[in-house]
């Protein structure tokens, strides 16, 4: 059984349901003892900006900000797609806890150990 788990998340406010469920599943993975990565790309990179997720709260789920904070506190890591981030002219000095801007090689390295990956 692989000890790593990746959640690829491509949505932010364009699909708050997917953004929320992505982090719920990521929390299930980190809560199950997996080294867990959330890879934010496309519109998902906006979630890496402090304050962006503050008003996202899907019915039946905890607020997204809380889900993200709990994920980081539990040791979860967040990779933010560099070209997606730059394209949107976001602020690299205003990242949420656990987030770092990376290129594709970091994602490939993480997955190369046989990590499963689910996408939202």
């Amino acid at each position: 059984m692989a000890n790593k788990f990746c959640v690829s998340l491509t949505h932010g406010k364009d699909n708050t349901d997917k953004a929320t469920v992505g982090f719920v599943v990521a929390n299930a993975a980190v809560g199950s003892g997996k080294e867990t990565l959330v890879f934010l790309s496309v519109e998902g990179v906006r979630l890496a900006q402090k304050g962006f997720a503050d008003n996202i709260h899907e019915e039946g789920f905890a607020p997204l900000r809380e889900l993200m904070e709990n994920f980081a506190k539990a040791g979860g890591i967040i990779y933010v797609c560099s070209p997606c981030f730059k394209k949107r002219k976001l602020d690299e000095n205003n990242l949420v806890a656990g987030a770092s801007i990376v290129g594709g090689a970091k994602l490939v390295e993480f997955l190369s150990d046989g990590s499963p990956c689910v996408s939202y």
Binding site: N27, A28, V30, G31, S32, G33, A62, L67, A74
Partner: protein
């Protein structure tokens, strides 16, 4: 409240929120200690046994919504 057994009523909490909280509650316990969980979420009957298999904790008994878990060795 049963003496020597840590108890937690998770209510409707489920999926990632449930197991992440479970993880943090079992971590400070001593190996072998018992944890009585009440989880109403309809996914719990499948999730809790899977979570125990992955983490190494022992699922002593299960009668939804009550789960008795023995904390693993360090």
């Amino acid at each position: 409240m049963v003496e020597g057994v840590v108890e937690w009523d998770a209510g409707e909490l489920g999926c990632g929120e449930l197991v992440l909280e479970l993880r943090s509650r079992l971590a400070p316990m001593n190996p072998g200690e018992l944890f009585r969980l009440v989880a109403l979420d309809p996914g719990a009957p499948a999730d809790i046994p899977a979570w125990c298999r992955m983490t190494g904790h022992t699922l002593v008994s299960t009668q939804h919504p009550v789960y008795l878990i023995q904390r693993k060795e360090d």
